[in-house]
């Protein structure tokens, strides 16, 4: 697609900076300006595992159709980092535009004739207009917002309003920021033909939508679910979950008079301890969770198996990053699917929830606690860096005030009073889920929790029959889980077809966009988005109803496909993997190419 044609509210803007220079607030301002103009927008951070001094990019996609996935095009590049200039220049799509700091001359060979290059003396203007060194660096970033406002026709009033809101407590900063913006804006107006053929245009006000990261949404979900204990060990990209939970707790869970806190957050010594704490707190009857990433889950594995076998509710949030090992901590993948499904030694299996955006992160965080307590088992919320750390536009979160936590089968003293005898691991109604009691309640409910072989009374056993009785009941419980987890969501094609796509989590956006493009190419596919493991009935029906099923996922080893093959019969020769695992969020082109190639069609991506 050429970028020279008039394109309104359909462009990709990429900003190349150095991390630690404060570009985040400038980029946030751009995002919000587009958002307030009613334009569907997403922002993706491409950052290094480093604190200061390495290259970092921020990619904004504005798209009037609401496509949220990453798109490999770059229409406008703002090249603020001399180190990566050459690479950034090369990345601009033909017909695109590049803005750079023209304070210092560029080498001549660093040029391209198929794009338009705009030089703006940003540093020079900053040095002339601002005194303090640190302010100059910050204002240089804000200044490119002004340049872009002119080039992309962003609404200046909206930007002013945003500045006012952001710095309401520091009016001095409003003036400085506004000055920088106007300097950039006026320079661009004077020297370039503004606006560009690709530009923004107000198309509403995005009422009903918000901008949020998945990590914030999960933190908020844990707050709303009534979690009181959070234990964690810091790890990218999950840290934002506990940061968010902490700040929401400070806002909503502190007694204004006494300062007493209705929560406890424990920064554990490692992930093993974090898992133990979560299990201990849930065992006593609090809702407790731990956010972590792949390496943390590896460490927690022994405890996860314990909680499975001893039947203790617990919520594990895995914001996935790139493995194996330390891998690339600041890149995204869906490569812990298999590990989480069967984490720990022995026969273990765990419910997994796959949110595909921050809105679902919120809902599913709450759901994870309900499921964990209902099923008395560890439940995993599998997010990833793309969902967790990037800025997503999603429908506003909603809350039903009538919601009450599902605490599952818990017997309190009143219940116990009516019983002859409490038996911890007895299935009384055939759903495979026994009753539990809470420490501190009643001696009649006392039992012994152990990871060693136990019988239905919780007593130690090495008796084969007694042992197997429990293990088999856990399978009955697994069947119950299938009926309780979030169902898969079907998006049928407008045309009858025997082709299907299965995807989950953050691959959703790429699939949505790809299906439209494939339809234009005459390839029609039904789409089922898996939202949980174990697979609910719709997944099996979908598998049966299609001749070819593309399984789209962000890992090398086709982990979801492997799970499907373990759970469903005779599907191996109908499943085709479309894999993306370079660490960047999956772009829609990957799905378009994968499907069309397999269908014998070559498309230019």
């Amino acid at each position: 697609m050429s970028t020279t044609q008039n394109r309104i509210n359909d462009f990709v803007l990429k900003i190349a900076t150095v991390n630690g220079t404060g570009s985040a607030s400038a980029n946030g301002l751009l995002m919000k300006a587009l958002f307030r103009m009613g334009v569907p927008v997403t922002g993706k951070n491409l950052f290094p595992s480093n604190i200061q001094g390495l290259p970092t990019w921020y990619e904004v996609r504005a798209n009037h159709q609401g496509y949220m996935s990453r798109c490999s095009r770059v229409d406008v590049m703002v090249a603020m980092n001399a180190q990566t200039y050459q690479k950034d220049l090369a990345e601009v799509s033909p017909g695109g535009f590049l803005v750079y700091d023209a304070t210092w001359p560029r080498e001549r060979d660093l040029n391209r004739h198929d794009i338009t290059v705009f030089g703006v003396p940003l540093s020079k203007m900053c040095n002339e207009n601002f005194e303090v060194a640190r302010v100059r660096i910050l204002m240089k970033n804000v200044m490119y917002v002004g340049v872009l406002a002119a080039l992309l026709d962003l609404d200046l009033e909206v930007i002013k309003q945003l500045l006012q809101e952001t710095f309401s407590s520091k009016p001095k900063l409003i003036d400085a920021n506004l000055k920088a913006i106007m300097l950039g804006y006026e320079y661009a107006q004077k020297h370039f033909t503004c606006p560009l053929p690709i530009r923004a245009e107000t198309m509403g006000d995005n009422t009903g939508n918000i901008l949020i990261t998945g990590n914030e949404a999960i933190g908020l979900g844990c707050l709303y679910a009534g979690a009181t204990v959070g234990a964690w060990y810091p790890i990218t990209p999950s840290t934002g979950v506990m940061d968010a939970f902490t700040s929401y707790c400070e806002r909503f869970r502190v007694d204004p008079e006494t300062g007493d806190r209705n929560y406890m957050i424990i920064q554990a010594e490692d992930e093993l301890a974090a898992a133990g704490m979560v299990i201990g707190a849930n065992w006593v009857g609090a809702r407790a969770f731990t956010p972590t990433s792949g390496p943390g889950i590896s460490l927690m594995s022994e405890f996860i198996g314990f909680a499975y076998y001893a039947e203790i509710p617990s919520v594990f949030i895995n914001v996935q990053r790139v493995g194996p090992s330390t891998g690339m901590p600041t890149r995204t993948q869906q490569s812990d699917t298999m590990m989480c499904a069967y984490a720990s030694h022995g026969d273990t299996r765990h419910p997994l929830l796959f949110p595909s955006n921050p809105h679902e992160c919120f809902d599913m965080a709450v759901r994870a606690f309900d499921l964990a307590e209902r099923l008395q088992t560890p439940v995993f919320l599998l997010s990833d860096l793309d969902i967790g750390m990037n800025d997503w536009m999603v429908p506003e979160l909603d809350w039903d005030d009538a919601y009450r936590p599902d605490r599952g089968k818990v017997l309190r003293p009143d219940d116990l009073a009516e019983m002859d005898r409490f038996i911890r691991y007895l299935d009384t109604d055939g759903d495979g889920i026994p009753h539990r009691t809470l420490p501190g309640d009643d001696p009649k409910g006392a039992y012994f929790t152990r990871g060693s072989g136990h019988n239905k009374y919780g007593g130690y056993t090495e008796d084969s029959d007694e042992y197997q009785e429990i293990l088999d009941r856990l399978l009955v419980k697994w069947d119950t889980a299938k009926t309780l987890v979030p169902d898969a969501i079907l998006s049928p094609s407008s045309k009858k077809t025997k082709l299907g796509i299965l995807a989950y989590g953050s691959s959703d956006g790429a699939v949505i966009e790809a299906r439209d493009r494939l339809a234009e190419l005459g390839i029609h596919v039904n789409y089922l988005r898996i939202r949980a493991f174990p697979f609910s009935a719709e997944v099996h029906e979908f598998l049966e109803a299609h001749d070819t099923i593309y399984v789209v996922e962000q890992n090398r080893d086709a982990q979801m496909k492997a799970l499907l093959m373990l759970e469903a019969n005779d599907i191996a020769d109908r499943l085709v993997s479309i894999l993306h695992y370079n660490g960047m969020p999956i772009p829609s082109e990957c799905v378009v190419t994968g499907v069309s190639r397999h269908q014998g069609l070559e498309v230019a991506a």
Partner: protein, 351 residues
């Protein structure tokens, strides 16, 4: 093997404690440990101490890791919930449990392998957080359950049953705990119940993480000549630095308690740990003094016992995190979830 319930025989006129329970009410299932194992004596001391303290069984949580020692929570207070966790990780589970309900009385039983090798990290951090619990190490110098390998607490120069000499320095649980900032550290011997019972009571009453290292001979793998954790060796080399007694809240503190080498440590709940110095040189309120004393006697192969360090004013985990008085797990949902309007308000900042 199945769960063996101990036959309950009610003797007429059996003594009851302040809440009307007999000693039997503080017992558990029959032990399956080797006859003569030190751990069983500690269990008996626990039963006695908890009964004397009139602890309500349901308020106790019995936590442990893995090992012969860690099996023992099944053998006392059948009316309390027990938690036999994974090897070396009892502290984290106890931490979470006590975070969720601060009214519970935490009692963790661990072994020297469980605490000083695989669980060394968690041992340190439960101390650092000063989680309000008794952390009892049943220390036999070996891994009993895996058949007698040296543990990290085995003294340099001591020998295994097969005659192998341990070359490595030992990790001394009490010195380590004191230097890591533990608020209560004591040592006892499974064979000295008279000393152990009040030690346990004092440790439970202490408002913070109380580490008790109890030498507990393994009759099967470490009770031979050449062992420094045998009954014979411990009896011969045991030295009392202090003696402790726990005086309940309403009891009168006589003036004589303040005299000379006897002094009371007043706890927040009004009870008093009465310490008597068996050795006038000893000062259990000063870390340096305690560590120096331990080191001097260690060099002579002596095992110092008693309350070795105490500071009842170190803030515990709940004070550190300023959590509310009521157990977190009992907070009504309405106070935890801010509701629909608050969510709408919050989201105004996300536009």
């Amino acid at each position: 093997m199945t769960y063996l319930a101990r036959p309950k025989i009610e003797l007429p006129g059996q003594k009851t404690n302040a809440i009307g329970l007999t000693l039997r009410d503080y017992e558990g299932a029959l032990s399956t440990l080797c006859a003569g194992c030190g751990h069983d004596s500690i269990t008996a001391a626990l039963v006695q101490a908890l009964w004397e303290m009139s602890l309500r069984p349901e308020m106790l949580i019995k936590m442990s890791g893995i090992g012969c020692s860690s099996k023992t929570p099944a053998y006392f207070v059948h009316g309390a919930h027990g938690f036999n966790s994974v090897h070396g990780r009892m502290p984290s589970v106890a931490t979470g449990a006590l975070a969720a309900n601060r009214d519970l009385v935490g009692l963790g039983v661990s072994g020297d392998g469980d605490s000083l090798s695989i669980g060394f990290g968690q041992f340190g951090h439960v101390i650092r957080r000063n989680v309000n619990m008794l952390y009892l190490i049943e220390n036999n110098g070996v891994y009993g359950l895996t058949k007698g390998q040296f543990s990290a607490s085995a003294d340099a120069g001591s020998t295994s049953k097969k005659g192998e000499v341990n070359q490595m320095q030992n990790i001394n649980a009490v010195a380590t705990a004191i230097s890591m900032g533990a608020s209560f550290v004591g040592r006892g011997f499974s064979g000295d119940r008279e000393q152990l019972v009040p030690l346990i009571k004092s440790a439970i009453a202490h408002p913070g993480c109380a580490v008790l290292d109890v030498i507990s001979p393994c009759v099967t793998f470490n009770d031979h000549e050449g062992s420094t954790k045998s009954y014979a060796y411990t009896r011969e080399h045991k030295l009392r630095a202090t003696e402790a007694d726990l005086i309940p809240p309403r009891a009168e503190i006589r003036a004589s308690y303040y005299a000379g080498d006897t002094y009371p440590v007043r706890l927040h709940d009004g009870s008093t740990i009465l310490l008597k110095k068996a050795d006038p040189d000893y000062d259990p309120t000063r870390r340096n003094n305690a560590l120096g004393y331990l080191e001097r006697h260690r060099r002579h192969g002596e095992i110092v016992t008693g309350v070795l360090y105490i500071d009842q004013n170190v803030p515990d985990m709940h004070e550190q995190s300023r959590s509310t008085e009521a157990p977190l797990r009992d907070l009504p949902f309405e106070t935890l979830s801010p509701g629909r309007d608050a969510l709408a308000e919050l989201q105004k900042g996300m536009k």
